[in-house]
Amino acid sequence: MRAAAVLSHVSAESAMSRPDYEQNALHHSCLLVLLRGVGPSRALVLQRAFEKVRRVNNIKVTDSSGVMRTIHFRFIHEHPVDHNDWGDFQTHRRLLGLITIGKFDNQTELNELCRQHESLKVRYGSTLYESRAIFFGPDAENNSLDIANHKDGVDNAQPLLQAMSEQGANTEAKIKVPEQQKQQITARLQDEFTTPSNFKSQAFFYREQDAYADLETRVGDFLHALFWVLESRRLERSREKPDRVSLLLAPFEKRDFVGLDMESRNNRKRCVGRVMKNLADLSLQAGLLDEALSLYHNANETLRSVGDSLWVGASEEGLCACSAVLLYPQLRTSPLRNTPEKWRASDATKKVNTPDVVGNTNGANALTSNSSSCSSVSSLVTSNSSASGTPTNSTSSSSTSTISVAHFGGHQRNGELPANILKPEEIPNFYRRAIINYSKYRNAATIETEAALKATRICIEQNRPLDVAMFLQNILYINLNMSEPDRVKRFEIITELYQQIGYQRKAAFFQRLAAQKHVQQGSQAPDWKQSYSLMLGSFTGYLLSLDPLEVLENAAGWPSLQIDLVQSLISAARRLGHSALATRHMTFLLQTQWNNMSATEQSEMAVQLQNLSAQCEGSPVPLVLDNGTVIPPANLTDLPYCLELVVKDMPAQLRPLRIKIAKADSGPFLFTPIHFNSVDRRDKKKDRNKIAFLWVQNDLCEVSVRLRNPLPFELAVTDMRLLSNGVVFESLPQTVVLQPHVPTHVSLHGTPMECGQLDLQGYSTHTLGVKSNCRLKHMHGRRLPPNYLVNVIPALPRIAIKTSLPQTATFSSMKKADIVVTSASLTLYNGESSSCTITITNESSSLPLEYVEVNINSNVEQKQQQKIFRIDDQALQAQLPVPPLGSIEFELLIYADADFVCPMPGGLLPQNSADYGASSPSHYSNISSSGHASLPLHVSSPHHRRHEQQNANSRSTISGAQQSLAALSLQPVGAGGSAGAGSQHIEAQLRLKYSGGEALTAGYCRQCAVSFNLELLPSAQITSWDVLPAEIASQFYLVLDISNLTAQEMSLNYTDNKNILIEAKESCRVPIPVDRCSLEQVCAARAAEIAENLERELCFRTQLLSFSDALSKLCSTHIAECVKINWMLTGTDIKGVASLRGIVLSHAMVDLTTVSPLQWSISFKDTLVQPHSEMICSVGQSTMLSITLTNQSLQPLKNLVLTIKFYQDYLNGMENYNLETRVAISGPCRVTIPIMEKHEQKQHNCSVIFFTPGRFKASIECATRPQQNNNSSISHSCPGGTNLGQLEVLAPQSVSMNAASAASFDEQQAHIWKFIPPIEVTVVEQ
């Protein structure tokens, strides 16, 4: 079977030099025309001309038998001359026509164009039937109208046409007529320029701006001419006598048949078969498909019988071509574009990783089209065989196949396919056989390659990917002696075909091979550019995309291959000298393949990137290649690795606050447990990126980022900035050097320039020489939201605050210490006043300060605080607004308020009052001092306690040393230590809320604070006090022990005109006359108290205020109001006022403080006793003592006991009441008065006899005693919480008794009213 044995010695040059990779089966039926641009300039106008010419790729010819034939032409740009040599083997390889297109501006250029045209003609002269030249001349400006027709073109065309006219005389006229017209039209340009004499082709002249509308018709005419020549050749061939034909040879066969007997039967058959095959080729070209088919069949049989493998293959291929022309005419109109689009569309870049889906859809699509076209064909075939004439409609109605029957030519006009056509599924088999036949000849390698490509294209059209793969794989085996560029071209074409069937991986494989071939070692001119673009093209096959984000998203493919590919791409880019691209790809590699690399690789790559970027810095902008490919930016998002990003609030003193506005009344329900829509809760989760606080326009804001450097060396990150969207944001660059593997905090700052919503997207870095935009949304694997939204409010003014006081060394420990901007400290003695000037400067350069609100917070009680600090708010408000950079001042008054009175144990009095009501006033101090140690102290604040302890200390000293108040003197306890311990620290914050400008209208303000540190030093202190009756009944003496706790001499002014000097740490006693508390006040207090008690009882409060409490309070405030003690430290101008606020009075004291309800009127010896008057009587003489009592109060007094007692005062603290032997009273000395109504008077008379002379004193007092039944009523009205049942029973009773009990509250207390001063009687001897 193998004829190759004979042919093996054939030299290589007779093989075709280069395969035509673009060929497909349908090109067998085309006439080959070389379309070539000549001359130097290739203006756009030529491109348009090219397109116009190309568009005329088929003509319709009605032949002599009246059959319409469609003749197809193939325009090519280049054609190796040696391909013509294969013209006998396959006629479509012959170049039949030549069209040159050129542009000239002057005569010399035109001459050059003509020369080139002629040289081309000579080159392809052996096969050329006809040629045309199309010339574009310069724009005409002044056209001369004289006509001098240039006849050369016509003359030249004449001989060729004559040859043709032998066959078709009718055509000559057809051709000539248009030529005449042409000349008319082109006459103008031809006037100006003349073609050289040796130019013997027909030329068409156009001006550049011409529409050259007739170009297409002219080209059509030219093609007609070609056809008729071909047709003549075909007829010539068909009329040859079978026994006289010469042997047709493929170029390499020429020497094989030398000396062989050509007349042998075998060779005769061979000759006939080959001619038949040749005729079939011509018929196919001439549009006679039926004839061609049967001729191919015959030739195939004939040749096979003589074992002429090469030509058998050719005839088989011819059969396939002919069938393909009939079956797949759509291949012609859009060579391989129908199907590929289909593949490409679905198979594009990303979806390869879901092969099932893609495969399915593709398969389905393709299969339907395929099967339908198959079925339509087969149905046609069958219908043809059954000789029915109607199936035309069915064919045209099959929408998927684009077979348009009209093109088929004469016989197929009714849509019937010839019976001997190859079935679609047979075509690949025939091709396979043809290829096997070709493969026997080394010199037919090009033919074989081309056949394989044609077969591939048919298989693609038939959607048989496995066959495609098979044919393509086969191409690789063909041992073709070809140049490197051709080899590369082969890979590229294979790539393209694989892509068309969706074998992306295979395509990528070959694309990469092609890329490598381009720059193979030893290659003379490595084409890095090509290599680069091919490698880029193979990205999809490896599931890489140019966009790093897409790659990261997909995270598919073979990492090792991807890394390798990108690395070779990088080196290609580097060799290309395009360092920007190299940097970009390196960045891409680091970004996308970070996780697929080992630690050493990572650091190696990082170093490489650093080296690359040294040549060209990387930046996050898309790069556009020459071919228009856009390389999207790559960012080193995770280098350094961001662990955390925290949006920081503004510093506390600059933080914007809402100005509180009185809330609109939202009804009585402030809180509802019902969530009306669950959307609320979801919103909370969703808005994790929403920042709760606000930023302020034009103010510096901060974002803190925690970064980790994953590389083993120091990483310098420069120019870090925040990336934002939304409002204009000015970001400040930050530079940081990160140590390996150590998380580092970095603060990024920026200033929003507008108000609105700021969208923080991430940050930009500049590291390893690459600028990157690291967006949060691209940081995977961390719990970071895609962005942060911060609301920016309008600009707020800023203020600076100064005080006139010195600053403190330490800041306060109070709450909200973070808003403190400045501090002030002040030391004051208790009772001293001072002031502090606070200066507010508006620091903002454009905003006025329009709103200031001041309040003070401190660690003391609100009440005391109000006493200590005072601000004239109105004066402050009057100064507003403050212009930009202006300042205002206001004054803060500070008064060192303190307790000057040593606190008396308040709890003692009500409990023990009964006891000391009964006892004499002289016992008072004794009781109080002795009871003190065991008293519960009222505990408030630590300093207070300290204060008290000190007091207790001093008091106990007092009580220990002195029994009587008269001898009281204060011992300086612990000298200086006690003074220090006694000082009180007050911390306060003067909080300023301020605002201005737009932010004020928007309702925002800022808050800042001045921290005050007050140290209150003890000055004067009242250590103990008592109340003494004064000379006048309307007054009493308040006797105070005042100690000077300062270290300086103190001058004390205690009444209007009395001053006393107290040495440091000394104390002294001063009496101060005070007006008694009037009865009206007492009554008012009582009424208030009754009302309050009533209310309490109604509310079932367990504790009732006792009247005495209210009264004692009343008296205390009375004293505090009346008595002001001014002190001054001598030698300085430090002065202050000590108040007696908080003085606690015992029950007995209260009686003295208030105006007595009883008015005394006592007469002795019938003379009214005046205070301090001397009364004299003699021994043994009876003397009348008359006492008149008047009830001045508003209530009746009950159970009064009037007692008269005489005693002798030894003036040494001893009083002798045992005077039974010295004085006698006739009449009762105790008188009980059960009730004394309002304004009622009672008189008691008795007579006194003194037995011995001397000085006697009489104590006359009136005491009340609470009654038993009253007590019980009290217990009723104060029911304990436990016996509620009893309460219910008793309640009506207690209420009914209420009035009575209220009225008799006064009697519940034991009172003693004395007549003061005691009566002094001097008894003399008679």
Binding site: V352, N353, T354, P355, G359, N360, G363, P465, L466, A469, Q473, L476, Y498, G502, Y503, Q504, R505, K506, A508, F509, R512, Y542, A556, G557, W558, S560, L561, D564
Partner: protein, 138 residues
Amino acid sequence: MAFCIAVIGKDNAPLYLATSDLERELDLQYHVHAALDVVEEKCLIGKGAPESKELYLGLLYSTENHKIYGFVTNSRVKFIVVIDSSNIALRENEVRAIFRNLHMLYTDAVCNPFYIPGEQLTSKKFDKAIQKLMTGNA
């Protein structure tokens, strides 16, 4: 005997790859990767009739140096074996045997309760067995 044995997951991500020659590993990877297209095509064809599904896919393609054979499990895990082209002595039956052994080894490896399907195979035992299989001593 075999140049390279590869196990490829159903999403076409490599699960395991062993080569006899480390220098050429990348090249072989490229070849194996390129073979996947044909594997997919063949799987697609086999899909129509699941009962008659043949796990052994046969020769995928061959180059000057290699013959590449494919095998797909029912869970769509692909095995690819690259065999020296020059080794004519190797019969198709032997290739089938290699795949059968490989399938068994893979099943054993995947039965490891600590193996998460879809992850790379890192079992030492599997590795050892594969190396043995490649040298033809299995």
